[in-house]
C-alpha cells in the first residue's frame, strides 16, 4: 500500500524542498519506489536541488491538464532508478489545481510507487492545501525560531481540518516533526528555541533534527540531495530521519554543541 507524505511548514525558506529531496532520495536508496512531486507551481526548485532541471520537458501542470502522460513527465534520477521526480511548472499558476485532477494524478502514481512525497509550497494558499489534501503522513519542517514554529502550528491545524482524511473522518494524518537548521550552540545560549521548547509548543513526535551546515548549501548548488553527502552531519542526520520514519529506533545525533577546549571552558567563551 503506497503512502502519500506531504513535506510542509507554512513558513518559507525553512528547508521543505531540501528535506523533500533528501527524504525521497533516502527512501529510494533503501529500495522503495519513490516519487517526489513539486507543488510549488511558478517557483519550481525541486528539480534544481535534484540536479535534473535540464531534463524537464513536461511538468505536473501538463499532466493535470492531460497535455502529457505521467510517463512523459516523470524524470528518473540519474543515480537511483527507484527515484522519480514530477517537476512543477515554471510558467503556469496554481489555478490549474483542482482536488479532482490532483487526486487523479496521485491515484495513478499510487499504482507504481511505494512512497509519494509532496513538496509543498510555503504559505497556506491553494498550492499548499493541494499538497496536503491527499496526505497520509506529514513531515512538518520547522526552524528553531518562534515564527517558524507558529506557522507550523497553523499548518498542523490545516492538516487536521482541510485534508481529505479530516474531511472524510478517516484516521488522522500521521504527523512527524523535522527540525532543520538546528544549531546546538545557539540553542544552548538561548538564541534559538530548544528542541524541548519546539516539541512542547507543537506537541508532535520528532523524527529528525538536521544541524545547520554548509554542506546543505553546497549540495543544493551542485544539484545533489544532501543526504548523499555521507561525510556531512546534515547528510547523516537525514539518513537517521529516514530510518526513524521507516520505524527504526535510533537515538538523535548532533544535539550537543561541540565541546569547548579546556581553557575556554575555564575562562568562558
Amino acid at each position: 500500500m503506497s503512502r502519500v507524505i506531504v513535506v510542509t511548514s507554512g513558513k518559507g525558506g525553512v528547508g521543505k524542498t531540501t528535506t523533500s529531496a533528501s527524504f525521497a532520495a533516502g527512501l529510494a536508496n533503501r529500495g522503495h519506489r519513490t516519487v517526489v512531486i513539486d507543488f510549488d507551481i511558478g517557483l519550481r526548485n525541486l528539480d534544481l536541488l535534484m540536479g535534473c532541471e535540464r531534463r524537464v520537458v513536461y511538468d505536473f501542470v501538463n499532466v493535470i491538464n492531460e497535455e502529457a502522460t505521467l510517463k512523459q513527465a516523470l524524470i528518473r534520477d540519474k543515480n537511483d532508478n527507484n527515484l522519480h521526480i514530477l517537476p512543477a511548472s515554471q510558467t503556469r499558476d496554481k489555478d490549474a489545481f483542482t482536488e479532482e485532477k490532483v487526486g487523479n494524478v496521485i491515484n495513478e502514481l499510487r499504482d507504481s510507487f511505494d512512497y509519494i512525497v509532496c513538496d509543498s509550497p510555503a504559505g497556506i494558499e491553494k498550492g499548499a492545501l493541494m499538497a496536503l489534501f491527499y496526505a497520509d503522513e506529514a513531515l512538518i519542517v520547522t526552524n528553531p525560531e518562534i515564527s517558524s514554529v507558529r506557522d507550523s502550528d497553523r499548518i498542523l491545524g490545516m492538516l487536521s481540518a482541510k485534508s481529505q482524511r479530516a474531511i472524510e473522518g478517516e484516521e488522522p494524518i500521521k504527523e512527524h516533526l523535522v527540525v532543520t537548521r538546528y544549531s546546538p550552540a545557539r540553542a544552548e545560549t538561548g538564541e534559538m528555541l530548544s528542541l524541548d521548547d519546539i516539541q512542547e509548543l507543537l506537541g508532535i513526535d520528532l523524527v529528525g533534527v538536521i544541524p545547520e551546515s554548509k554542506a546543505v548549501l553546497q549540495a543544493s548548488n551542485s544539484g545533489v540531495p544532501v543526504i548523499r553527502d555521507e561525510q556531512s552531519k546534515s547528510g547523516q542526520a537525514y539518513q537517521d530521519m529516514v530510518s526513524r520514519f521507516l520505524g527504526e529506533d535510533i537515538p538523535m545525533r548532533f544535539l550537543d554543541a561541540e565541546k569547548k577546549g579546556f581553557l575556554k571552558r575555564i575562562f568562558g567563551a
Partner: protein, 287 residues
C-alpha cells in the same frame, strides 16, 4: 434613606462596547465578523468628487449611562452638580445616554426631557439618547431630538450598590444552557477557533498562540493556555477560565477582557490558575 433617595447615579459602562455587542448574540459567525468591523473605530467622513459626500459606517462606542431615579429636575441637577464637583469632570462634553428604567413605570409627574437636555447642556453634558423608555417617553424623546436606544447591556451596578437580593444578570438566566460540554481532544492550533455554544468547553490539550477558544460557559484547559480564551460570552459573568498553565494572550469573561502583553504582570503567569470576574474586574487566582 440617603442612599435610596439618591436621584442620580452615574456609572460608566466598564465593558467596552466592542465585546458587549459582539458576544451578545452568541453567534459565532457574527463574532468574527463584528470583531473585524469594530477594528474601524471612529467615523470617517470623506468627500470625494464623484464618490459621494458621505459614507455610512458602523462603529461601536462606549457611552456613559446616566440612570435616573426620579423625575424631579431640581434634585437631578443638584446631585449632578455634586458629582461633577467631586471630580467626575471626564464626563464633561461627553455624550450621555439616559436610562429611564427606574422611572418608566413611575406614576405622577412626567420627566420634562427638553428641560433636562438644556439643564445638562448647561453643565456641558450632552444627552444623545434614552434607553429603557416606555412608549410615551420614547415618543417625547424623539420630539426632543434624542435617539431611542434599544437593549444595550444590562449592566450590574458595582458591588457597593448591590442589594442582597440583587437580580441575576438577565442573560445568565436566559441562556438556554444545554447541559452538555464540548470536549476538544487535540491541541487547538494557531488560526483555529473553537466555540462552545451554550455550554462549557474542555480542552484536553493545549490552546496554542494564535488560537482562540470561546464558550458561553466556563473554559477548562488541561494543557497550556497560550492563545485567547473568552468565557461567558453571552454575558455570563459567573463564567470562569481554568488552565493548568495560564499563559494567555488574552482572557475575557462576559466581555471584560485583559491582554497579557507583559507576561510578568502576574505572578501566576505560567502556573495553574483560574480567571474569574469580581466586580467587573478580572481576577487571576491560583488553582
Amino acid at each position: 434613606m440617603i442612599v435610596w433617595n439618591t436621584s442620580v447615579r452615574l456609572w460608566v459602562q466598564l465593558q467596552t462596547a466592542i465585546h458587549v455587542t459582539c458576544y451578545h448574540s452568541a453567534d459565532y459567525q457574527r463574532i468574527s465578523r463584528l470583531r473585524t468591523n469594530t477594528k474601524t473605530t471612529g467615523e470617517r467622513l470623506t468627500q470625494h468628487e464623484g464618490i459621494g459626500a458621505v459614507e455610512l459606517k458602523g462603529a461601536v462606542f462606549t457611552l456613559p449611562v446616566l440612570k435616573l431615579h426620579c423625575t424631579d429636575l431640581d434634585a437631578i441637577e443638584h446631585e449632578l452638580k455634586v458629582h461633577l464637583a467631586r471630580g467626575l469632570s471626564f464626563f464633561k462634553h461627553a455624550p450621555l445616554v439616559i436610562d429611564l428604567e427606574l422611572i418608566k413605570e413611575q406614576q405622577g409627574e412626567e420627566l420634562d426631557l427638553p428641560s433636562l437636555v438644556s439643564t445638562m447642556h448647561d453643565m456641558k453634558l450632552f444627552i444623545v439618547g434614552v434607553r429603557n423608555a416606555n412608549p410615551q417617553q420614547a415618543e417625547r424623546a424623539v420630539t426632543a431630538g434624542l435617539a431611542v436606544l434599544k437593549g444595550g447591556v444590562t449592566q450590574q451596578e458595582g458591588a457597593a450598590e448591590k442589594p442582597a437580593n440583587a437580580e441575576l444578570p438577565v442573560a445568565t438566566t436566559n441562556i438556554p444552557f444545554s447541559g452538555h460540554t464540548k470536549i476538544i481532544y487535540q491541541p487547538v492550533r494557531s488560526g483555529q477557533q473553537i466555540y462552545a455554544k451554550n455550554c462549557d468547553l474542555i480542552v484536553l490539550s493545549s490552546v496554542n498562540v494564535g488560537a482562540e477558544v470561546i464558550a458561553d460557559g466556563n473554559i477548562h484547559i488541561y494543557g497550556s493556555l497560550r492563545g485567547r480564551a473568552l468565557a461567558g460570552v453571552s454575558e455570563n459573568t459567573k463564567a470562569r477560565i481554568f488552565a493548568q498553565v495560564m499563559e494567555p494572550e488574552l482572557a475575557a469573561i462576559a466581555g471584560n477582557y485583559q491582554v497579557f502583553d507583559e507576561p510578568n504582570a502576574s505572578r501566576l503567569y505560567g502556573k495553574a490558575a483560574q480567571i474569574y470576574l469580581d466586580d467587573n474586574q478580572l481576577v487571576i487566582a491560583p488553582l
